[in-house]
Amino acid sequence: MTNLAKRKKAELRFRFYGIFSVFLSLLFVAILIFNICLSGIGGFYKTIFLTSIHFDQKLLNLEDNASEEQIRNASFSKLIKNNFDETFKDYSKDEIKQIKKLFYRKIDIELKNFLISNPEFLNKTTKVELTASTHIDQIHKGNFDRSVQEKHRKVNNFQLEIYDKFVEDQKVKKVWNSTYFTSGDSRDPESAGVAGSVMGSVFTILICFLLSFPIAIFASIYLQEFAKTGKITDLIEININNLAAVPSIIFGLLGLGILLNFFGLPRSTALVGGIVLSFMTLPTIIVACRSSLRAVPPSIREAALALGATKNQVVFHHVLPLAMPGTLTGAIIGLARAIGETAPLLMIGMVAFIMDIPSNPLEPAVGMPAQIYLWSESSERGFIEKTSSAIILLLIFLIVVNFVSVYFRKKYEKKW
């Protein structure tokens, strides 16, 4: 009896350890996500000043009904100077210069874009949403300590005073930052976006999937169904398993040495990135596919063989469809790992300042992890926020990919 009590106690203790471990791991995930969301959500918003602007025809040197082309070529600097001088006529020239610094330094482009999409405001006065400078943006979001000494701040006391006055007049607003999703990288946190790196990641993963998935499936089918079991097959199997454990930077070196230097493929492109990542995902998919193939009951193979099916027909009509859910899961786990991979991409130059959004896999690109790495290195406060926002996007991307894999597994799983 005492023995039984002891055993029951041990079971209870073990349960407690289990619950504690589960709780601990969930806690870590929760802290991570909470922390990133806290610092990253702000990056999806930007601060704007509602500013009254008079689009004077003469200052822009434009005729009535000016075409888009003409507006694009017009210089807005005179117009901006004139409007600022008008609005802040009580301030000195030097002060106006400082007020201007509250705004993003490329408001001329913003005004230009506004006029292009609303040409009816030519020669009229209207309120325009002008992006605030990154420092004001950070102050408005509360990421900035005002008690810091003036000389250690990017925003001086006079500028703060003006900002407070704007706030009082309800001219400052926090709006959804659509540029963040539509533009590429930039030196200015105000206009930096993830579109370039998202496209880079998409192309890279696409290439990676298109290469690794079919190759892995054919390799697995051959090894599992056709190859004679023997020393050579064993050796290949061991090496594939080893390959899955190779540090990812080695694959980057391989890409640098062979793809770039030997084959002369273009540097920093999604094509090379995809090939390198497919080296990395291949073993993962092969291992998953082989174990799924092995799990298909031999009775199914025998049934098809006994009907006079050829080996090929057995594999492609019966075995492979049954192994597909497991293979897809393996493939998506491999791809999810590849999406988050930075190290191999560093070696092939996919970590660079690239402003243009790539439109095909042969254009220079960075992936999302590399973009996060690049931004995290930047000293500007605005970029810290952007980094966290990009991490949130990457996490959402991964979660979506995982859900897709669960969906496909459920869809193709056959009930026995």
């Binding site: 004679k228 079991t229 009951p297 009775s299 199914i300 193979r301 025998e302 049934a303 098809a304 063989l305 006994a306 009907l307 006079g308 099916a309 050829t310 027909q313 009509h317 019966h318 049954l322 056959k414 009930k415 026995w416």
Partner: protein
């Protein structure tokens, strides 16, 4: 009486282990022959030689001569796929494909290119299911998964699948061992029906089953063919002591 299959001096080895010792056995056309014997006596191995299912096993080696209608099935002229079209097989455990009932039956005719037309295929499926005595039970749910049927129905589906490609011989490897008595009796009746059109060779552990369904019986022991002959004779006046011991339940 015509022989459907003749085997002569058949020896089968798994690596160095000899599983079948010099067996010569002939199977009469349109008769049911039962292979009986204790576990591990080589009857399943022998059966699997007849449609070359042992080909898939790397370590298995077959020596001797097997002929179907006088043609050597291990000769180069015979493609194994063609052979299996002529000699169907039913396995111990029902193994329908995880596809619809219709597709299960239509699979064989489809890969052998019997027909491209939907109506003709429908007819093949229907007649096959009817011959297997399953059509009435499943006619309204041909699109259901074959695996959703009960064990006995699954086995009859496998029989329908096998006869859909119009074989001459049907091999049955303990077809009822996974079934309950009622499903078993249905299958046994079916076997009696089927022998009108097919030669049936059945491996069984149940002596009663062998006595009920077969015309001929062969008794195997440790890879040797001990005795063969009419079922009635084997079960009443066996020549060999071993056969007598086995059928009276003294060993095995």
């Amino acid at each position: 009486m015509v022989n459907a299959i003749n085997t002569k001096n058949l020896n089968v080895y798994y690596r160095d282990q000899q599983a079948i010792h010099n067996i010569s056995l002939d199977f009469l056309k349109n008769k049911v022959t039962a292979l009986i014997g204790p576990s591990g006596c080589g009857k399943s191995t022998f059966l699997r030689c007849l449609n070359r299912m042992n080909d898939v096993i790397d370590i298995c080696r077959v020596e001797g001569n097997i002929s179907l209608n006088g043609i050597d099935i291990y000769s180069k002229e015979i493609e194994v796929e063609y052979l299996r079209e002529k000699i169907g097989m039913i396995f111990q455990k029902p193994n329908p494909f995880p596809k619809s009932i219709y597709d299960n039956v239509a699979y064989g005719p489809r890969i052998h290119g019997f027909t491209d037309k939907k109506e003709e295929m429908d007819l093949i499926v229907e007649t096959s299911l009817k011959k297997a005595g399953l059509f009435e039970e499943v006619k309204d749910r041909l699109e259901d998964m074959g695996t959703s049927l009960s064990g006995g129905q699954q086995q009859r589906l496998c029989i329908a699948r096998a006869i859909a490609i119009k074989p001459e011989v049907i091999l049955m490897d303990e077809p009822c061992s996974a079934l309950d008595p009622i499903a078993t009796s249905i299958i046994e009746e079916l076997i009696t029906d089927l022998k009108k059109s097919y030669t049936i060779i059945i491996v069984t552990h149940s002596m009663q089953q062998a006595a009920r369904v077969s015309d001929k019986t062969a008794f195997f022991h440790l890879g040797n063919l001990i005795e063969e002959g009419d079922t009635s004779k084997i079960f009443t006046k066996p020549d060999h002591q071993k056969t007598n011991d086995y059928i009276t339940g003294r060993f095995g």
